[in-house]
Symmetry: none
Amino acid sequence: MPRILIVDDEDKIREVVREYAEFSGFSVVEAIDGMDAIDKVKAQDFDVIVMDIMMPRLDGFSACKEIKKIKNVPVIMLSARGEEYDKLFGFELGIDDYVVKPFSPKELIARIRVAIKRGSSSMASADVFAYEGLEINFTAREVLIDGNKVSLTPKEYDLLFYLVKNINIALSREKLLEEVWGYDFYGDDRTVDTHIKMLRNSLGEYRNLIVTLRGMGYKFEKVR
Amino acid sequence: MPRILIVDDEDKIREVVREYAEFSGFSVVEAIDGMDAIDKVKAQDFDVIVMDIMMPRLDGFSACKEIKKIKNVPVIMLSARGEEYDKLFGFELGIDDYVVKPFSPKELIARIRVAIKRGSSSMASADVFAYEGLEINFTAREVLIDGNKVSLTPKEYDLLFYLVKNINIALSREKLLEEVWGYDFYGDDRTVDTHIKMLRNSLGEYRNLIVTLRGMGYKFEKVR
DNA sequence: CATAATTGTGAAAGTATCGTGACAGTTTAT
DNA sequence: ATAAACTGTCACGATACTTTCACAATTATG
């Protein structure tokens, strides 16, 4: 039986969702705000979290951010009508879906089903590059070396992703600056070098997948 | 920036997809039904089309059929819950993927990315010159002899690339200096000779593809 | 064949590029 | 507000590369 966590400070909302969800065959746990939700997530596993944005103590976005650090659970946000900007902001946080209040419980349940299905199928379309013990997950923005998560800085991610997306293609510093830093970056060419250096250090034993093309730039190369 | 065409008669659906897609770095064009979509496809190029099945005037399947006659664009179909059409029928029409409503925008974007990647997987293959055991890959800035990588210096690459790009064309030292070294090089003519020497050494058994034109210059010659 | 013109080549001097650590300015987290 | 993390720049040293030059080898010419 799929387990869902419903997070909202309004009793009435929780009650309605619980009713429909249980009728639809889900097991429901409630949390009253973001802090409460984080505690529950630490203690138990859920298949999906349905969370309001506006809540006392800790809002939905912040809670979502924290939760994603703990476990990768699909999160569906409940947003009040007219919170357009928030949609974009939330998507960045890894929010899977939005349901605008007032919502039809039937619709919410349908979306919960979609989220669960997607979550359990372990994301069939996960965009991943793998080579020996090196795994680069573009979707999750995650790099694993021998199963251990490597934490990269934002620029390191961006640079690595661009290099890997253009595997076996020679890339000049200018090209890299334009594509990774942006066309409006008017800094030193050698900035690339420094970040390549740090990226190589982060890649440890796989550092040599990034080859220097003297007089030209760099390239990510998959050896055979 | 990849361009996507979203075809749906419901404003709300188009709006949501547009928002997420634009945030994800896509350029979005909307069409209100199948006929509209066909007009747009005739006028512009898209990387992927997201289309509803149930629409007034011209439905998604018929529109897809027509569109495929015009251009080969990946098509993702949106089907309402319960509209369990025969998937085989759809794939026969060249439909690349199905997303069932209500969908999570995040999932749709992921599928759009996959479709684009698939579509462009037949991307311009690496720019390569090959002759017997000699392979010159311009894209990767790589030269292989019998499958083994040959490491060249920057000038050797540049010189070789220019020679090969102008295969069977006689090139004077002046021309080579101007094109490979740059118009602002004010050095000795004979510098070319030295680099030709080193390049020939690097090319090993294929050294004689570079032919000396006495009193003139050099040329890269494909025998036979 | 002798000579001049031209090209091949090795070595040495000169130059450029890259990797790196340090640091200051900035952003982000706490 | 303070600490921590990140970014961009710089300068230094090691290394790789380029250029020049002198001489050897080759080719053309009378």
